[in-house]
């Protein structure tokens, strides 16, 4: 294996998606549009509740930080899934799979695109948060990087699993891309602590890496401490999720190669 050749092929895949983004401003705007609108809504809820709520008066960025972090997870997942769907929409999978591109390079290209889309989407919303509400997500300091890594990796794992399922069952399963992440929302404790959930649901929540990230976020915002325990628990779980996501994806590619679907896949 030649690392330079691999990097060049990953770069080619990223270039293909960048060409697409560059010529479609509505696409770029839509990346930031939803996170920004959601952030603005939570910011006004904060303005409304802060005078009567201790948590919000102590940490006015509580909801805005939460919504921006949640969008790292959401955009991270969509970034992986949508890059894959683009290849299916354009019936390009056949050409890609007969090229020297290896499956892991395809995955790497999707992950790079996920980071680019997330930075555009969440970065845009974060900028608006600072301009309109004087809230800087960077005020979290170093922990922000830890949260970002854990959330985007979870997004990648789900995005790869969704891509695999769409490859397995066709574009009819595309809705999964939008629905999958929302299934995790109630047990991720984005806006409330996990302790408010019923006991049985707390067990499920503890198995979701995002719940440890958002618990960690509350530690930082309310108690100004960074919990390494929560960080490493999330990281450990993410390793398992990533193994599962990559496995589902590679199994779906294997299945597609057994059924001869790669040359036929398309809209």
């Amino acid at each position: 294996m030649n690392p330079a050749a691999s990097l060049r092929r990953i770069g080619a895949l990223v270039l293909r998606h960048m060409y697409l983004l560059r010529k479609s401003w509505p696409r770029v705007i839509s990346l930031a549009y939803y996170p920004t609108v959601t952030m603005i809504m939570w910011a006004f809820i904060t303005v409304y509740l802060a005078p009567t709520n201790n948590v919000l008066s102590d940490a006015p960025g509580f909801f805005i930080g939460a919504v921006l972090l949640w969008d790292i997870l959401f955009r991270g997942q969509l970034g992986v899934s949508l890059s894959f769907f683009e290849e299916m929409y354009s019936r390009n999978l056949g050409n890609l799979f007969v090229s020297p591109l290896r499956p892991w390079e395809l995955i790497a290209g999707q992950l790079v695109m996920s980071v680019i889309r997330t930075v555009i989407g969440v970065g845009g919303a974060a900028l608006v948060a600072w301009l309109l509400f004087r809230y800087s997500i960077f005020s979290m300091g170093f922990p922000l990087l830890a949260f970002f890594v854990n959330l985007i990796v979870l997004g990648w794992a789900i995005g790869l699993a969704v891509s695999g399922m769409v490859l397995r069952w066709g574009l009819g399963a595309e809705e999964l891309a939008w629905a999958a992440i929302f299934l995790l929302a109630p047990v991720s404790g984005v806006y409330y602590p996990i302790s408010v959930l019923p006991d049985w649901l707390q067990w499920i929540a503890h198995a979701v890496p995002a719940s440890h990230v958002f618990e960690g976020m509350r530690e930082v915002l309310l108690r100004h401490t960074f919990s390494f325990d929560l960080f490493f628990t999330a990281l450990g779980l993410n390793v398992l999720y990533m193994i599962a996501g990559v496995s589902v994806y590679l199994l779906a590619i294997r299945h597609a190669r057994e059924r001869g679907m790669l040359l036929q896949m398309g809209e």
């Binding site: 050749a5 080619a12 293909r16 290849e87 007969v98 090229s99 020297p100 398309g266």
Partner: protein
Amino acid sequence: MPIRLSIVPTAIATPVPAVIVVENLVKRYGEVQALTGISFAVRRGTTTALLGGNGAGKTTTLSILLGVLLPTSGAISILGEDMLRHRHRVLPRMNFTSPYVDLPKRLSVRENLTVYARLYGLRDARARIRELADELQLGDFLDRGYGTLSAGQRTRVSLAKALLNRPEVLLLDEPTASLDPDVGDRMRSYLEAYQRESHCTMLLATHNMGEVERMCTDIVMLRGGLVVDRGAPAELIARYGRDNMEQVFLDVARKRPDADEEETG
């Protein structure tokens, strides 16, 4: 004492080596037998046609050769490599074109070719794209979106993509489909010239019998996942007592009883 070189006419003494070797290839989809142990070889620098009616197994065979379909059993060697185990060693040295596999429609022709030039690791992508644009007459629409092109223009772009890496093995699935006779003829001439110059080995799946007679040195005829006959075009035409490959094809596809005696499976 000066070394004396013995002059051996190697080109005559040594048979042209096979670049593609398919042995006992079987593909089953559940109960459906798509390929039933087919074997054939394609010699270096020649063009072999895979002929057969719809469902005969041509696309299945091409897909397995490309590595996008896994066989149930059998062996494939391309350029001396075991394709089932080391296909990524061979893929940079081969390429493929089919009117049924698209390129991203929102990207321009130039952008698409640039992406694939990088995927194939070309050192001077711009020069190669310029060269192919001249040779395949893509210049007028190089900066237009691939999705805005006519079917014939797309076929030419797809061919350009297939030639980007100067492949040693080229798999062609109906390479001149959708082209008018004039452009089709130019493309065939181009492929013939490319083969003369590069000694590229080509495997062609087509329903255009004129193309087969003109371009192919060998033919493998498939029916129902079996190799039912093989030979040079002139040989087959003579054997079936016909005037052209179109008539031979019809004999085989319509399973004329005396054609069955030729089955080689």
